[in-house]
């Protein structure tokens, strides 16, 4: 919350609601709302008002959601939609663990407020395989052992799939450069590069 002109942080939302409630109570606010404020029910009310509707297609499923504007796409996926395949490694756009596709482009979902994705098609790691059939990139990661702990892996794979589509998998150097937004602390980088090269040369549709 930004500080006000005195440099003092703003009061809580409840204080604001209360003040505004009192100011307007005499005029046209129903008694119930004033009571709600006094009895501290206002937070529940407020939380309803504070939510915004959001339409997303996630892994082919159309969703009508109601989310707080401050919720990131990452937290929406992990905490509300139980799609925990997308990982949180920093929450600051610094590690790539949270990489998903939004309308086919790779993005850091921790840097994207959920509501800014209105109408978009989101693909997460859970939506990459076709039923039991793994995506070639997933197969290649297993084959080349492109991971150890596996925590960065969904982000790496989502990035790798987009990388080829972007046309940034032309050489080993190019792959290494364009995969550098995805940190792997286990240090599986060479194996990740090998996996991507195999998919690239095998022709990823």
């Amino acid at each position: 919350m930004p500080p006000d002109s005195d440099g003092v942080p703003n009061k809580t939302r409840r204080d604001f609601l209360k003040k505004s409630s009192f100011l307007t109570a005499a005029a046209f606010v129903p008694v119930t709302v004033v009571n709600a404020a006094v009895n501290q029910w206002d937070e529940k009310l407020a939380s309803v008002f504070e939510k915004t509707s959001l339409h997303l297609e996630v892994n082919g499923l159309a969703l009508n959601l109601s989310v707080e504007p401050r919720t990131t796409l990452l937290d929406l996926l992990r905490e509300q939609l139980n799609l925990t395949g997308t990982k949180k490694g920093c929450d600051r756009g610094q590690c790539g663990a949270c990489t998903v596709h939004a309308d086919g482009m790779r993005i850091n979902s921790c840097l994207s407020l959920a509501v800014t994705n209105e109408g978009k098609k989101i693909t997460t790691i859970e939506g990459l395989s076709k039923g039991q059939e793994l995506h070639p990139m997933q197969e290649a990661f297993i084959k080349h052992d492109g991971f150890q702990c596996g925590y960065c892996t969904p982000g790496q794979i989502m990035s790798a799939v987009a990388l080829i589509k972007e046309g940034h998998a032309g050489s080993e150097m190019e792959i290494r450069e364009y995969m550098s937004g995805n940190i792997c602390r286990c240090g599986a980088y060479p194996n990740i590069v090998n996996a991507i090269q195999e998919v690239k040369t095998g022709g990823l549709s």
């Binding site: 809580t12 992990r78 550098s180």
Partner: protein, 710 residues
């Protein structure tokens, strides 16, 4: 039937779960009534909390509880009683003392993560500030001998004998703090069942040691604590112990009577879960003109915390890696107002090998001798520290294979003379050793009617692929396909196993799996009246004949007296080729060859990945990683992954892992010696030595950033 055997390259048994997002890490379980905890950090570095205003936070939407030292229910294990002193370490929310910047002062619990995070920002505290010490280098006068008994002075022959040697090197080598930074944030989800049992999902390298820690904290029976940690998103030592915030999550769950999930932020990961401490290592090393070592002196000063002592085990490696008639070592620690350090991959040995192997390189140049020739001249055929034969040692073979692979003959013995265009080319070697340990472990096996096998042990997998190795060991002994075998781990209700640390999991738990498989075969042979060593077993058929739905048994396994008769170590030689730009100091690691004598290799595929990962860690240690504190405030200034640089893909070349792969007949029935640590030990000095060879600049202070090269 296909038979998988030790030494094969088996893809990870949990690979599919990891590439599909199906692997559930500790913060990813759907638990009814889950609440979210967010820690509030102190903004001073030493002193006491004088007031703490939680009102605004408590009134914020969705907030269920704000816990501070004022209202926290006491953690029983934190309170001293007559019989024994209180447990060591930080006791969160137990009193108003602040020992380091960003020490948590409050825990906010709310119904959503966003609400807890917002409410945490509303907490206001005032403090009584005290003077603090965070600058390691300015406080080395306050260094002291560690209190713990394991870090005594060591003298073999004559102390400081190097001083009288005809050729000698006397230098100090500096390492900054380095942060484990596993990709998964440390997370703990805890809840209490109505019967008083505690269930915890937490990032742990050892579910049994976590179970004990929670039981001790809450003074409850160990069996009433259930720890789950099947998938661990890396740790590298940061989850070897149970941290105070993990206890706080369980404490909060108890106060609220609801499940609490507490996730550290990346910034908090820099102060609350340990790190490799800063060290100054003073080396003295002397030799005769023909390169025979006369003496080695190695003294290490390492950063510790005022509230808990930690000693970086740096100097041990100088006592035994080379055959020097004289050697003496000393430990000292410098307590500061910082979070307590912790063992980080290749703990101590990686730090120590940087000093020893760089000093040896400097000596080689002073003697005008090839660095490999110098190492061969002082090759220790037996352990000079313990005066015991090695259980096995193939370090000479490591030198040979590594030199061939890197193209050592292309190395110029004159630094700064090998040039490709604008780039200076250099080659370096760095060696290391790490103890081959074996701890007590148990394994359970169940043979089912269809001939499939399930094995269980309360071990962990922080990334090496424990389950995969165990399946391969069982497949080898039972002579069945790996697909018929499953392995369960990361659950404290399973048969006891040691914490995953010290590169000992395969040697300890693998031995238990080996033994339980042998026991199963014996049992079946007894049932069918066959000789004990009969190998011709059709498992499904035997169960059917015997009219049994399944057979199960549990077997314990531990080391023998061999450990008293032999000195047991894994050994490694790392070879590196670097390019350094002559004008800008920019560097490129062009090639890394890691050659390791780690006894028998169980799974070639995952072992290679582990070697590669260790080398990447070593590249970070050598070239990029450094936690920086602003000593005016005592606060870390680069506590995030944008400012603290771990290696990224563009920094890393192809890395070749080569295994000597000779079983050690003395360590354990599998002949393994461990690779987790050795994969990193020796990498940083190999790089520093290659940089010197390329540029003629001897960098004794890590990381070797380009500014140090121009």
């Amino acid at each position: 039937m296909k038979k998988d055997a030790i030494g094969d390259s088996l893809s990870r048994v949990d690979g599919r779960l990891k590439v599909t997002g199906g692997a559930k890490y500790s913060g990813e379980f759907k638990i009814t009534g889950l609440t979210y905890g967010v820690l509030v950090p102190a903004t001073i570095t030493n002193g006491t909390i004088t007031s703490i205003d939680t009102k605004a936070a408590e009134r914020a939407p969705g907030v269920l509880k704000v816990i501070t030292y004022l209202n926290a229910t006491k953690v029983p294990g934190y309170q001293p009683d007559e019989s024994k002193p209180a447990s060591k370490g930080l006791k969160l929310f137990n009193d108003n003392k602040i020992h380091f910047n960003q020490q948590p002062i409050a825990l906010v619990i709310a119904d959503t993560f966003e609400r807890a995070t917002y409410a945490a920002s509303l907490i206001k505290a005032t403090y009584q500030k005290e003077p603090f010490k965070t600058n390691f280098h300015q406080n080395i006068d306050n260094s002291m001998v560690p209190q713990g008994g394991n870090y005594k002075d060591y003298i073999r022959g004559e102390a400081d004998a190097y001083k009288n040697a005809p050729v000698k090197i006397e230098q100090a080598y500096l390492l900054p703090s380095e942060i484990h930074n596993p990709m998964e944030l440390h997370v703990t989800t805890a809840f209490w069942n109505t019967d008083g049992k505690l269930t915890v999902f937490t990032k742990s390298q050892g579910v049994i040691s976590s179970q004990k820690a929670f039981a001790n904290a809450f003074k409850i029976e160990q069996s009433t604590v259930q720890i789950n940690s099947r998938f661990v998103g890396g740790a590298f030592g940061s989850s070897l112990r149970t941290w105070p915030h993990e206890i706080a999550a369980a404490q909060a769950a108890k106060m609220l009577n609801r499940p609490v999930k507490l996730t550290l932020t990346r910034e908090q990961m820099f102060t609350l879960v340990g790190y490799r401490p800063q060290t100054i290592q003073k080396m003295g090393i002397g030799a005769t003109p023909d390169g025979q070592l006369v003496g080695i002196t190695h003294e290490s000063l390492s950063q510790s915390a005022v509230y808990e002592e930690f000693t970086e085990r740096s100097v041990n490696v100088s006592r035994f890696l080379y055959a020097s008639p004289n050697a003496n070592t000393r430990y000292k620690v410098v307590p500061l107002h910082v979070g307590v350090p912790a063992p980080m991959r290749g703990p101590g040995e990686a730090t120590g090998a940087f000093a020893l192997e760089c000093a040896l390189d400097e000596l080689a140049y002073a003697l005008n001798m090839d660095p490999i020739a110098l190492r061969l001249k002082n090759y220790a055929d037996a352990d000079p520290e313990k005066n015991l034969p090695w259980s096995s040692k193939y370090l000479k073979e490591c030198y040979q294979k590594g030199a061939d692979k890197i193209g050592w003959e292309k190395r110029s013995s004159k630094p700064g003379t090998n040039r490709e265009g604008d780039w200076l080319v250099g080659y370096g070697i760095g060696c290391g050793a790490f103890g081959a340990y074996r701890n007590k472990a148990q394994a359970y096996i169940k043979l089912l009617a269809d001939g499939s096998v399930n094995i269980k042990s309360a071990t962990s997998d922080i990334g090496p692929g424990t389950g995969t190795s165990m399946v391969l060991i069982a497949a080898d002994i039972l002579k069945i396909s790996a697909e018929k075998i499953t392995f369960d781990l990361g659950d404290s209700s399973l048969p006891e196993a040691p914490t995953q640390g010290g590169s000992a999991t395969v040697s300890s738990v693998g031995s238990a799996v080996h033994d339980v498989c042998i026991a199963l075969k014996k049992k079946l042979n007894t049932l069918t009246g066959k000789p004990e060593n009969n190998e011709d077993l059709d498992y499904a058929k035997i169960l059917k004949q015997q009219n049994l739905p399944f057979i199960e048994l549990t077997q314990g396994s531990e080391g023998t007296d061999e450990a008293k008769n032999y000195s047991m170590y894994s050994f490694s030689a790392h070879f590196v080729q670097v390019h350094v730009h002559a004008l800008t100091g920019a560097w490129r690691i062009k090639k890394v060859v890691a050659v390791v004598d780690a006894g028998k290799i169980v799974n070639n595929k995952t072992a290679s990945s582990q070697m590669i990962g260790g080398a990447v860690g070593g590249i970070g240690m050598a070239m990029t990683e450094e936690a920086i504190i602003d000593d005016r405030f005592g606060r870390l200034v680069n506590g995030n992954l944008a400012d603290y640089h771990v290696p990224v893909n563009a920094d890393i070349p192809q890395i070749e892992a080569i295994f000597i792969n000779k079983p050690d007949m003395h360590t354990n029935p599998l002949g393994t010696k461990g690779i987790g640590e050795i994969s990193l030990i020796g990498v940083a000095p190999a790089i520093a030595n290659a940089v010197y060879n390329a540029t003629g600049k001897r960098i004794r202070e890590l990381p070797i950033t380009p500014d140090k090269l121009i």
